[in-house]
């Protein structure tokens, strides 16, 4: 079946797999069965119960152990002669530097987040090692090939930006359930159980500042001798009653919208809680992880949608349980989708808020999916994708450039195919990652600080997490372990300075160089001074061009227009998070229109570009970017039409 040439290449290949999850398990198995002998695996996650429906190298007894290690052990059982090296670590760790990557013939990604993918992309470019990328969501999946100089790199085409929501939508004018979830999770939960010192928009209102008084801060803190029941009701009444009344009073906000209804605990629940709320006192559960308000109240089914009354009861009960059983954690808690009590609390709070604003309530199951950015996943898609990855990997090892294919696994048969193969594009000449094209930044150099530049451009947009910023030969800022105190102080001071006031002033016409040593990425940015920025359209007060950003989602025009944004999720970058569960649930997928400057020609249904006549393999599109902190695999989304366009053949 495999030719001599292929067999030789396979046997002698050293392969790096990044990710040992859904795709990873299938991939490792397929690589092993295909004759690969030397594989390294990097995965920082541990095994969870929800993995077991598809990550078949793992068993119930492995829950909590390292994925990379268990995967290795499982495969060695049927291929004892193989060399499999497992790294239980984060691929962004500096030890996985360019030198490390250089030892491999090909890198195969089975990741679940954009950040890590970009990082690996840059390292592969720096090491000049081919990369086979992939992702899956439910029944959709795709495999893409990236070879430096020959094909586009992973970042040549813009990937959808994670969905964010304007602050005022979250704090004052929610219209969708997800807004209520974000409020409940990032504001209320964070305020009550998270770091008290953290800035929190919970009491931000669109009305004038005069009404917000200092005593508002104390509202959320439980007083010394305050009983838990009155405390709970006090919080309830404050956020669902008082705050709503205040917000409701602003005429301007509600001119074209339905006013929210304040909800007070006394109206929803009669005073006598101790009878209603189950047997907390009798509950001698020591194991904090199984503490549950639902169990306490006898609400068994996570798929049921609670009523306002039930949600209110859960709200109070969950609050009570946190204080009764998990008091030590309060002040340090961050939302975790696998924390049952946290999910219950957030669902309840979101539901009550939804009731206030006339938004429909949702079940715990649904809310958890939204709050936890859960991606739906099944074994079969991963198996298909893994198979395709190996097929492409073999082509890459043999340097059969003409045969490289990007393959899209569709949900429904389109043009009689379920797998759609497409030839890769040539590298994008204006890709700042692989083509080193300089970018342009319009910014007010006498108003914006270096910190703004670092946070909003370097980290958020360019994905450079450990930057080095230079103006000519002058170091303006850097991050590193080997800096001395003076340098650290210097850089800290620089961050607070306005650009034109920096030791090496940055003004109109300046060229800044931003580097990431680990990714070996250098990016040049031409600075153009501009006085005014549109508050709505350019809330950051900066405009980066030459870097193509995917347009925002259809119904989300507002999200780009606000000064700050609140995301839904707790991943790395600033306020940027995605909203995958919602998008998928509504059957909507984000569509990305063609980025500017592409060489694609529009010839719909061009059969020649679709059928893969060369190596007889069956290949087949579409992906949606979903950023999540789950260990599920994610799919990228591209414009369906462009798949049928004529492609530029590779040389």
């Amino acid at each position: 079946m495999v030719s001599e040439r292929q067999l030789e290449a396979i046997k002698g290949a050293k392969v790096l797999m990044v990710g040992a999850g859904g795709i990873g398990c299938e991939l490792l198995k397929t690589l092993a069965l295909s004759g690969f002998q030397d594989i390294h695996i990097i995965d920082m996650d541990t095994i969870e119960v929800s993995n077991l429906n598809r990550q078949f190298l793992f068993r119930q007894s492995h829950v909590g152990q390292s994925k990379a290690k268990v995967a290795r052990d499982a495969v060695l059982k049927f291929r004892p002669q193989m060399s499999i090296t497992a790294h239980h670590a984060n691929v962004k760790d500096p030890k996985f530097n360019v030198e490390f990557f250089k030892q491999f013939n090909v890198v195969l990604n089975g990741l679940d987040n954009l950040d890590a993918r970009r990082h690996v992309n840059r390292l592969c470019l720096a090491a000049d090692v081919p990369l086979v990328e992939s992702g899956t969501t439910g029944f959709l999946g795709q495999v893409t090939v990236h070879v430096k100089g020959k094909t586009e790199c992973y970042e040549c085409q813009p990937k959808p930006a994670p969905k964010t929501y304007p602050v005022c939508t979250i704090t004052s004018t929610p219209s969708k359930f997800v807004h209520c979830i974000v409020w409940a999770k990032d504001l209320l939960f964070a305020k009550l159980f998270g770091d008290r010192n953290q800035e929190n928009d919970l009491n931000v209102r669109s009305s004038d500042a005069a009404s917000s008084s200092d005593h508002a801060e104390d509202v959320f803190v439980r007083r010394k001798d305050e009983d838990i029941d009155p405390y709970g009701r006090r919080i309830y009444d404050h956020v669902f009653g008082y705050n709503i009344e205040v917000a409701s009073s602003n005429e301007e906000t509600w001119k074209n919208r339905n006013r929210p209804k304040p909800i007070y605990s006394a109206d929803v629940m009669p005073e006598n809680l101790t009878e209603q709320n189950g047997n907390v006192a009798k509950n001698c559960v020591v194991d904090t992880s199984s503490v549950s308000a639902m169990a306490s109240l006898g609400l068994k089914n996570p798929q049921d949608t609670w009523t306002l009354l039930e949600s209110s009861r859960i709200f109070l009960e969950a609050l009570k349980l946190f204080f009764a059983k998990r008091e030590k954690e309060i002040g340090n808690l961050s939302f975790d989708k696998d924390d049952q009590l946290a999910v219950e609390f957030v669902t309840a709070a979101a539901n009550i808020r939804a009731a206030s604003f006339g938004i429909s309530l949702h079940s715990l199951f649904e809310a958890k999916g939204i709050a936890g950015n859960i991606v739906h996943a099944v074994a079969t898609t991963n198996a298909i994708i893994a198979g395709l990855i190996v097929i492409e990997a073999i082509k890459v090892l043999l340097k059969d450039t003409d045969k490289y294919r990007m393959t899209y696994c569709l949900e429904h048969i389109t043009k009689k195919m379920l797998l759609m193969p497409v030839e890769p594009y040539e590298p994008n000449k204006s890709c700042y990652v692989c083509s080193e094209t300089p970018l342009s930044l319009e910014i007010n150099t006498s108003r914006s600080k270096l910190r703004d530049f670092v946070e909003k451009i370097v980290k958020a947009k360019l994905g450079i997490n450990f930057p080095l910023i230079m103006h000519g030969s002058n170091l303006l800022y850097e991050v590193g372990d080997d800096l001395d105190e003076v340098e650290v102080a210097n850089y800290a001071a620089n961050l607070e300075k306005v650009l034109s006031q920096l030791p090496s002033p940055v003004t109109n016409g300046t060229m800044l160089t931003v580097e990431d040593l680990q990714q070996e990425l250098t990016c040049n940015i031409n600075i153009k001074h501009r006085e005014e920025f549109d508050e709505e359209k350019e809330p950051d007060g900066m405009l980066l061009s030459g870097w193509t950003q995917a347009p925002p989602a259809k119904d989300d025009k507002q999200s780009m227009n606000d000064k700050q944004s609140i995301g839904n999720g707790g991943d790395s970058s600033n306020a940027l998070q995605t909203e995958p569960a919602d998008a998928v649930k509504d059957g909507e997928m984000e569509e990305i229109s063609e980025p500017s400057g592409k060489k694609r020609k529009l010839s719909e249904g061009s059969k020649a570009s679709i059928l893969d006549a060369t190596d007889g393999t069956r290949n087949h599109k579409e992906v949606e970017k979903l950023d999540d902190d789950d260990d599920d695999d994610v799919v990228m989304f591209d414009d369906l039409d462009s798949m049928t366009n004529k492609k530029k053949r590779l040389q």
């Binding site: 429906n53 078949f56 049927f78 439910g138 859960i374 739906h376 996943a377």
Partner: protein, 298 residues
């Protein structure tokens, strides 16, 4: 209740509780547990299928170790069905896994009634003659059947099922029916409150397009013996008629009416194909079609 389902959480978000229940009720029979069959069953078992029965008469040979990851050296000499079954059972202990050391061909020849107990039979690597026989057996017993064969990088999957009902719950193209050819009383009354030829230009261009269509289609039917535009020529004429009613070029309501005029043309009643289904005696829609008097839903 949260606990048992946690394992299936990610797939529940695809097919919901109903889908999961259907999986858990199903019993699957696998014929031949080579790599194709084994991989197939792996995915079903991981998903929580009710039960599996693995049928294979062969013993594990050294050559099998190369392409079936469920087998390792210690299995050599053992029944392949037994070894694969054991591995599959480990993947999910909620699944009832059984095996029978028997050649599928023999079963097909000697014991056709055997297959009636299953919801689905997955038959891999069978020859054509046996596939045809098995197909007949399963059809009669109303058991679903899937054939699969693979050779290197090619293969096929073929489904053989008598009837499978699919309800498109989220259709891509939602055709709304405004009942323009037969407005109900309140709509008719509403339309009557409008005068298409109102002199005030603002009122004229604010007449809702639905009202325009109702009135104009009424005018048409009155002058065409009670029938609506049906030929291409007539449809074009109708559109021209609408256009002639415009008094200014910026009247969006008339433009909308012209664009939406096809809603008037659509013949009322059920489509022919749907009628056939409703009339078909075997169809599970049968009781439904009796229940509805006037199929105005469609």
């Amino acid at each position: 209740m949260a606990e048992p389902k946690t394992k299936y959480d990610r797939q529940l978000r695809i097919w919901g509780e109903q889908g999961q229940a259907a999986l858990e009720k199903a019993s699957v029979c696998l014929l031949n547990c080579g790599p194709t069959g084994s991989e197939t069953l792996k995915n079903l078992v991981l998903g929580g299928i009710g039960s599996i029965t693995v049928i294979d008469g062969s013993k594990v040979e050294v050559g099998d170790l190369g392409n079936n990851f469920m087998l390792d050296e210690s299995c050599v000499g053992e029944s392949k069905a037994k070894s694969v079954c054991a591995f599959l059972q480990e993947l999910n202990d909620a699944v009832k896994a059984k095996f029978i050391e028997e050649y599928p061909e023999a079963l097909i020849e000697m014991n056709p009634p055997f297959f009636s107990q299953f919801t689905l039979v997955v038959a891999t690597q069978l020859g054509e003659e046996k596939m045809i026989k098995l197909d007949r057996i399963c059809r009669e017993a109303n058991v679903m059947l899937i054939f699969a064969r693979s050779y290197g990088l090619t293969g096929f999957v073929r489904i053989s099922v008598k009837e499978h009902t699919v309800v498109e719950s989220k259709p891509d193209h939602f055709l709304d029916d405004l009942r323009l050819n037969n407005p109900w009383p309140e709509l008719r009354k509403f339309a009557e409150t409008f005068d298409l030829n109102v002199p005030d230009p603002v009122a004229h261009k604010h007449t809702p397009y639905v009202v325009i269509l109702i009135k104009m289609s009424e005018e048409w039917t009155n002058s065409h013996g009670g029938s609506l535009p049906s030929t291409r020529e007539e449809k074009r004429e109708f559109k021209e008629l609408l256009k002639s009613k415009m008094v200014a070029i910026d009247e969006d309501n008339y433009k909308e009416a012209i664009e939406a005029s096809f809603k008037v043309f659509a013949p009322p009643g059920i489509k022919l194909a749907l009628s056939k289904v409703l009339q078909s005696a075997d169809s599970s829609f049968f009781p439904f079609s009796i229940a509805i008097g006037r199929p105005w839903i469609f």
